[in-house]
Symmetry: C2
Subunit: 295 residues, 2 copies
């Protein structure tokens, strides 16, 4: 398979080998993402061509995943504000451009599928797999399967009142995404940081502003997870994305805050994702394998 994960800034492609239970990337390529459905299909076709040429074996299928609102059933990119498409027929266009059968899906749900099949959600039938990076989203594992539900846990109102890019206020993402943590630290201190990783480091060094920004991020995340616990009762929340690299600096205070807030809900275990940056691509490959198996 060739798997492609179209991100907000960069597009990752990988030549992948394996079966339904697990896959591994054997060769990778990256390029910057250009906005627009046509541009994405053009660039994906080039990446596929490069990897196909480099492959020692014939390529059976493509797995392509994109962000935004995705309709897996029809193979359509329904909407992406950042990347500028609406109702774009990705699956048909990529099949036409490459001559290969293509599976099409959502980046976060595909990454969740990879965590479920071969990452840190392997033993779970009810879980939330939540990558935290520029934004916050979630793949919902319900009754053993990745649900097609949107899982927009980044845009539930947890009451802090700050505005969010989505037009609402109080969103988890407005305080707890990696981007928000870095931005809020800089707003508070006028000191530049390159990302949430810097804020996590400053926190360890005893920086009081970092501690406050981090505390507010953890509070928003805990309240978002609490809502998910009331509605879905997951056994575990698997944290991924850039922010999860903070490890116990994230999970320790988050677990503590959850313990304070929780009443009747099942307290989800907090885990760190296993597959990191590769989850989307591996998930795209798993979608392609599932498609081939079904035929």
């Amino acid at each position: 398979m060739i798997a492609v994960d179209v991100g907000g800034t960069g597009t990752k492609a990988a030549l992948v080998t394996g079966g339904p239970g697990g896959v591994v990337a054997v060769k990778q390529q990256r390029r910057a993402t250009r906005p627009g459905g046509d541009a994405v299909v053009e660039d994906v076709a080039l990446l596929v061509d490069e990897l196909r040429t480099a492959s020692e074996h014939p390529v059976d299928a493509i797995g392509l995943v994109v962000p935004g609102i995705v309709d897996e059933a029809t193979g359509t990119g329904v909407y992406s504000a950042n990347l500028g498409w609406a109702d774009y027929p990705f699956r048909d266009r990529i099949e036409a451009a490459t001559g290969l059968p293509a599976a099409f899906g959502h980046d976060v749900r595909a990454g969740g599928l990879a965590e479920l099949r071969q990452g840190n959600a392997r033993d779970l039938t009810d879980a939330v797999i939540m990558p935290i990076g520029t934004g916050i989203a979630a793949a919902l594992v319900l009754d053993g399967r990745i649900s097609s539900a949107p899982g927009e846990v980044g845009h539930v109102n947890v009451g802090h009142g700050d505005p969010c890019g989505c037009g609402q206020t109080g969103c988890v993402e407005a305080r707890a995404s990696s981007a928000a943590i870095a931005r809020r630290y800089t707003e508070r201190t006028n000191r530049h940081v390159t990302g949430a990783v810097d804020v996590a480091r400053l926190l360890t060094e005893g920086d009081v502003d970092a501690a406050e920004v981090w505390r507010e991020a953890v509070d928003a995340l805990a309240k978002g997870i609490l809502l998910v616990a009331a509605l879905l009762g997951p056994r575990a929340v698997v944290l991924g994305g850039g922010l999860a690299l903070a490890g116990p600096k994230l999970t320790d205070p988050l677990g503590g805050r959850l313990d304070e807030l929780i009443t009747f809900q099942r307290r989800p275990e907090l885990r760190l994702a296993a597959l990191g940056d590769e989850a989307g691509c591996l998930g795209a490959a798993l979608l392609a394998i599932d498609m081939l198996e079904e035929r």
Copy 2:
């Protein structure tokens, strides 16, 4: 089948006939619910015996549904604060007491199953079926099936700050359940009302206190539905229970408030449930039929 729906105050039992696609109650019995697992099993066994004696045909199975936290897989009533049980093995005990095979489930999820198979959710694969009575709960229809998720939409924090019986603040249920609407009207006016139906009538008569209590209930409900829309993206919310008897007095302002609040989420259609008070019993019968089909 004999179907039994154990409620917080009363237990309904029905002799039911039909198949997986639909059932109908041919004879019904009721009695007050006594708390405790053993008392419930004893009373259910009596109801079963009465209906079995009255039946012209042999009875194949029992379907039993209860409130609280339920583990369908093990047939256990995990917890009910109101009815006073913890980890009670209902399925085994009712089979032993009656000599009939029994299916065991959760009252709200069973009622949701009945709405899905033969009520106003028949055409839906992604929906939330939300009975509003003394409390507020929901059955989640995800990818065409009733999920085992808890669906506690009554106990998500929508920011109004009022305390809830569950120990949290801001719960939807604390402002929008039938019980809360009646209680809040009386607290505000010192006038007794028998239930939310009275408040709905007063609203029509131009009572300003009724209008304010109703507005606050609608606001809490709309915010709860908004959270569900972000996480699950249902095509419709099917409103049931006593409060749904208010019909357009509920759905018109609720739809208006949702339109004001919604941004990126799919706006769920608002529907009224079809099966009313009978949904739990019919759902219990469907669980029994599904069990027999699987054998």
